[in-house]
Structure formats: structure tokens, C-alpha cells
């Protein structure tokens, strides 16, 4: 699996991931990251703001300015998803992350199920962007030996406990299979 070295983060990913004590693992997987301007406006509480500040100060993360053209592309994706009954809803900020990731060739980090489903159904449609949720990021990092844990499941349980985000066990199994961890 060839993974881009750049990521684009959505608000729902940031507010979760920032609560995890091993959040800097992100930068063992990626060398740089972007947060689209409208996504940044959604982050207002101390813990995720501190994480953003630290990452920006370290020169790892920067803001991707929005534009009418980018927003138009994002709304196209939102509309496409609304017309496809197989895809759960995609909201404008997540779609904006995809539009940015398509431009720069990055991994979108989001917990939005619509974007994940759209990517699973037609990855070539979003290429060169890839789409992962935190579970996939954990699986990739574990598979590559970038994070220590007794097992992938132990790592997931640690993450779930700290960030208060529960994954369906069916998805955990599917992702473990996807990343060759079974």
C-alpha cells in the first residue's frame, strides 16, 4: 500500500485524536498536514486547540485557505452523495477535505462515514486522495511497527477509552483484515 506522506484533517478526526496521549504518532506516519480553513473554525476547545498549536509551531501542520472553486468542488461531492443511496451523508467540511486531498495527493483523516463509504465504493473517483478514519490510521501504524501495543485490539481499546469513541467490532475486524493484521 503506497500511502501519501501528507494528510488533510477533518474536525471530527482532530477533536478525537487530540484527546489521545499518543497523538503525536500522527507524525510518524505523515510528514506534513493541512487543515482547511472552515474545518479550523469548528475547533474551539482547549485540548484540540493545544494539539493544533503544537503541530503548527513544530512546522508540521498548516491551514489550507478556502476558495470559491474549492467549495464548489466540495459541494459537487456532497450532491453526488445525496443522489447515491449507498453513501451516507457527506457534509461540506468533509467534502472540502477531500477536494484539498485530491489537489495535493493526501490522505483525508475523517470519521465521516459518507466519505469513507464513497472511497470504498470508488477509490479511483477520489484519487490521488485516500480516505482513512482513526481506526485505519491506528491499523496502518500498528502494521508498520510505528506504535507499540500488545495487539491491534489492545491499541484500539486504549484509543477508545481515552477519546470516548467506540468502533463497531465488525469494523475493527474488517480493518484488521484490510491491513493484514489477521
Amino acid at each position: 500500500m503506497r500511502v501519501p506522506s501528507v494528510c488533510v484533517m477533518d474536525a471530527c478526526f482532530i477533536i478525537d485524536w487530540a484527546r489521545w496521549r499518543r497523538r503525536d504518532l500522527l507524525w510518524r506516519v505523515f510528514s506534513a498536514g493541512f487543515v482547511p480553513e472552515p474545518v479550523l473554525r469548528e475547533v474551539v476547545t482547549p485540548t484540540p486547540l493545544r494539539a493544533l498549536r503544537e503541530w503548527m509551531a513544530a512546522g508540521l501542520l498548516t491551514v489550507y485557505p478556502s476558495s470559491r472553486e474549492l467549495e464548489g468542488e466540495a459541494m459537487g461531492l456532497v450532491l453526488e452523495a445525496m443522489r447515491d443511496p449507498r453513501i451516507p451523508r457527506i457534509d461540506p467540511p468533509e467534502a472540502l477535505c477531500v477536494a484539498v486531498a485530491k489537489r495535493v495527493g493526501a490522505v483525508v483523516l475523517t470519521e465521516n462515514r459518507g466519505v469513507l463509504r464513497a472511497y470504498q465504493l470508488a477509490p479511483e473517483r477520489l484519487a490521488p486522495a485516500m480516505v482513512w478514519n482513526s481506526l485505519r490510521l491506528l491499523a496502518y501504524a500498528y502494521a508498520r511497527g510505528l506504535v507499540e501495543a500488545e495487539s491491534f485490539l489492545e491499541l484500539v481499546v486504549e484509543y477508545e477509552g481515552e477519546v470516548k469513541h467506540a468502533f463497531s467490532r465488525r469494523e475493527v475486524k474488517a480493518v484488521a483484515r484490510e491491513f493484514g493484521l489477521e
Partner: protein, 63 residues
């Protein structure tokens, strides 16, 4: 899987807490429980995604 997650959200919710909230937050949490759509629920509540997530945690709703 969507139905499984919806059920997980529904079962984990502290309904007594939710019923005691102002209408906007209450409706937004119910929308989140039904759809799992954090952004849309936050917009309905009139808050940011980050602020809505704090309310979600206080309401005991699993993500």
C-alpha cells in the same frame, strides 16, 4: 453497520440528561443519535463540532 452504530448510540445515551436540555441541543443530540452526523447536528444546535462533541460526551453517547 449503520444500524448497529445507531443502536449503540441509542443504547449508550443518557436520556434523562438529554430530556433536560434546551430544545435546540436536545433535538441536535437526537439527530446525532439517528444519523451519526456530527456536523449537521452541531449546526442544528447552533454550535461548533467541537462544542457539540463535548455535549455528546456529557450525554454519554458513544461515537
Amino acid at each position: 453497520m449503520d444500524e448497529e452504530l445507531r443502536e449503540l448510540r441509542r443504547r449508550s445515551a443518557d436520556w434523562e440528561y438529554i430530556r433536560g436540555l434546551p430544545p435546540k441541543l436536545r433535538e441536535a443530540l437526537e439527530l446525532y443519535i439517528e444519523t451519526g452526523d456530527m456536523w449537521l447536528a452541531a449546526k442544528l444546535a447552533g454550535v461548533t463540532v467541537d462544542e457539540f462533541n463535548e455535549v455528546r460526551i456529557r450525554a454519554g453517547i458513544l461515537w
